[in-house]
């Protein structure tokens, strides 16, 4: 595809979706066109892409290796009482920032539940957040005090800024000049900031006069500075605040969305159908796969294939002929995050007895960094908490760490659980990690491009990799590109 056409399609983004014809599709599917597409992977991206293709009357089949669909969007009930549940993968939606996702929410009649402090995101003012710094807990009021800020090491310029802004807006203080130069957020290059590809975001903050305290708070080491600035530019364009915006989860758990797509796709989704080889040429794509554990290889031919499998898993499948060197670089070098959530069930809101408004705390303990409360969606007096801790730890160890650092008298936690994604053969990864300094040219825009008749969608294949929204955006974009091809 020509670069200009390609960027235009990317920019079209939301317009590409065909959700509007939902009712029509359910009652009288559009006549199937001559085009046939195989979607590899029934995670949220694959299901959404297949749905969008189906809406366009395209004959689509989803081949999923695992015995369940949903991939890294997974709502677990096991081990919890009263019908309580926990999302072990995709945690929350934001508004603004999830425009495409909310269109599906509305079209499918799903309900959302406000979920403040999701993954430790900022609470509205005076929400009761507690932050541990240097072994001491600080309330929001304490952190807003200029004397405290100076004592922590913020410089005068930062203290003056923090008198008017919350901490999470600090990037705006250091990146305003660069963001002002960003006139076209559809790509990172050509906005007068290309030289930032060579350095990391932490170095840029330092150049812009950030104190060590501000740099520690902002992070940014090993994060490509151009990628970082571009990301903020896209967020600005999409109206996404630095706070994350308002946060929500789907009533019943975030897996309600994959379920809604799968229900509409019906027998187009084939579970336990792992793809073992892909061959492609200018005429089409032939996929070899197994069905339901049977070793006899089967083949399926199609006009296009959309890879919606995360790249570390996708690269186990031989592709013939091999992808271009540029595409292979992306497949071999994109780094992903994969972190577990630790889930606790408590019998009561024990923190109220200790005088805390809510349990929204960040810690410096090596085994636990954050804890927050999941909103009540089941009829239960019990409550689900979620915590961040390093992968590979047992939930009991993370609970012990919580008990060490919790500043109250006692808790009523009765259950501690986790889901070890590193042991998941088919969906081990979450989102892509930021690009490393000096590598953006090798990734962009190749990361968005098809390789012959193989298309790529997933959280990484959008101008802003940001949770399930980038999954559904990239899915709808690719569906439109194939419809137009």
């Amino acid at each position: 595809m020509e670069r200009r056409t390609f960027l235009k399609t990317v920019a079209a983004g939301l317009g590409a979706s065909m959700i509007g014809s939902e009712t029509l599709a359910q009652n009288a599917p559009l006549p199937r066109s001559a085009k046939k597409v195989i979607v590899a992977g029934a995670g949220i991206t694959g299901l959404c892409c297949a749905y969008e293709l189906m809406q366009r009357g395209i004959d689509v089949t989803v081949l999923e290796a695992s015995g369940r669909y949903g991939g890294h969007v997974y709502t677990g009930h096991d081990g919890l009482s009263d019908g309580l549940f926990a999302d072990y993968g995709a945690d929350h939606l934001t508004r603004p920032g999830y425009e495409q996702f909310f269109r599906y929410v509305d079209a499918f009649g799903l309900k959302v539940v406000p979920y403040p402090n999701a993954e430790g995101s900022p609470l509205p003012a005076n929400g009761g957040q507690m932050t541990m710094i240097g072994g001491k807990f600080y309330s929001e009021t304490m952190l807003a005090d200029p004397a405290t800020q100076r004592a922590l090491g913020f410089n005068d310029r930062e203290v003056a800024f923090l008198a008017r802004h919350p901490w999470y807006e600090l990037p705006a203080l250091f990146l305003a000049d660069h963001l002002a130069r960003f006139h076209d957020a559809s790509g990172p290059f050509g906005n007068g900031c290309d030289d930032l590809d060579a350095i990391d975001l932490d170095t840029l903050y330092a150049r812009q006069g950030a104190s060590q305290r501000a740099r520690d708070y902002l992070g940014g080491q090993h994060v490509n500075a151009l990628y970082g600035v571009w990301r903020f530019a896209v967020m600005r364009e999409r109206g996404i605040p630095l706070s994350e915006g308002e946060t929500f989860l789907l009533d019943g758990g975030n897996e309600e969305m994959p379920k809604a797509f799968a229900a509409r796709l019906g027998d187009r989704v084939r579970l336990a159908h792992p793809i073992t080889a892909i061959e492609h040429d200018t005429a089409g794509v032939t996929v070899t796969y197994n069905a339901y554990g049977n070793d006899t290889p089967l083949t399926m031919h199609a006009d296009y294939l959309v890879n919606c499998i995360s790249l570390p898993v996708f690269r186990r499948i031989p592709v013939t002929p091999a992808p271009s060197a540029a595409k292979q670089y992306v497949v071999d070098n994109l780094t992903y995050s994969s972190h577990p959530f630790f889930v606790f069930e408590a019998e009561t809101k024990f923190w109220l007895d200790d005088g805390f408004k809510t349990l929204a705390m960040s810690f410096e303990h090596p085994d636990i960094s954050q804890i927050w409360v999941v909103p009540e969606t089941a009829k239960s007096s019990r409550v689900v908490l979620k915590a961040f801790g390093p992968g590979g730890l047992s939930p009991q160890r993370v609970l012990a760490a919580f008990r060490e650092v919790y500043p109250g008298k006692r808790d009523t936690i009765v259950q501690a659980l986790t889901w070890d994604w590193t042991k998941d053969s088919f969906a081990p990864t979450c989102e892509m990690d930021p690009f490393a300094p000096g590598t953006l040219k090798q990734f962009w825009p190749e990361i968005m491009k098809p390789d012959g008749r193989l298309y790529f969608a997933g959280t990484y294949a959008d101008a802003l990799s940001r949770g399930m929204e980038s999954c559904v955006r990239s899915a709808a974009r690719v569906a439109q590109e194939i419809a137009d091809a």
């Binding site: 073992t276 499948i317 031989p318 992903y336 994969s338 992968g391 070890d420 590193t422 990690d433």
Partner: protein, 237 residues
């Protein structure tokens, strides 16, 4: 004195009994490891990727029913200059460090030659090459976890690995992680790449050797039976 004689007699009796028992006990059978694809003596273009499938049966358990997890299977693809030479079928024994790597959760985030949740072993080997304290640094990262060494992600601690095991892994990564002549692939099925360290000759190819890396019964070895080595000749250049 009488006691001494009796004691010596008991020692002799015990040792001859043990010897008899040792002679009588059949050696514990090793794992049955079969590369079911690709076919032996098959041909594949250099740079292309081929599929592989391995089955393992051991101690009444099988990969077929996931009684042996896929993570306990490792495939090595070793460059051989002459696929017809007898040496092309002599697989090296499995490095003990890779037993620890696959039995812990390393492969959940790392791959041998490509990025995934963390950097590849090849990239780690390259970055730390020639640094005198590298093995100690890496062993400490493995045991205690690390943060910010590569990106925004963090490496969790591994209390399941002892100091000697962590050092063995660190040593292996530094010595062999970036070896262009051998590539490893974890899992009972997947793909391997036809890669040569230099320009391959017309008889060159890859020796694929498969290993069971899971726990062994007491006294058993990893010496496997079955079609655990196949040779694939490269075509083109």
């Amino acid at each position: 004195m009488q006691f001494k004689v009796l004691a010596s007699f008991a020692v002799v009796l015990a040792s001859s009994l043990t010897a008899a028992l040792l002679r009588a006990a059949p050696p514990a059978p090793g794992p049955q490891v079969d590369i079911t694809s690709p076919a032996d003596h098959s041909r594949l273009a250099w740079q292309a990727r081929g599929s592989y499938t391995v089955t393992v049966a051991y101690d009444g358990k099988s990969t077929r029913f996931d009684e042996i997890p896929s993570s306990n299977v490792l495939l090595a693809a070793t460059f051989v200059a002459d696929t017809d030479a007898p040496a092309a079928r002599r697989a090296a024994p499995l490095p003990e460090a890779l037993v620890h790597v696959t039995q812990s959760n390393c492969m959940g985030c790392h791959d041998f030659n490509a990025s995934s949740g963390g950097p590849s072993f090849a990239a780690i080997g390259k970055r730390y090459a020639g640094q005198p304290t590298a093995a100690a640094t890496l062993a400490a990262h493995i045991r205690n976890g690390s943060r910010g060494a590569w990106g925004s992600g963090s490496m969790p601690p591994h209390p399941d690995l002892g100091p000697a095991q962590a050092t063995a892994i660190a040593d292996w990564i530094l010595a062999h992680g970036a070896d262009p002549a051998v590539r490893y692939y974890a899992g009972k099925s997947g793909s391997f790449r036809m890669i040569a360290p230099g320009k391959p000759g017309p008889r060159a190819g890859l020796m694929l050797s498969a290993y069971y890396t899971g726990p062994l019964k007491s006294g058993a070895t990893r010496n496997a039976s079955g079609r655990n080595v196949v040779v694939v000749t490269g075509t083109g250049s």
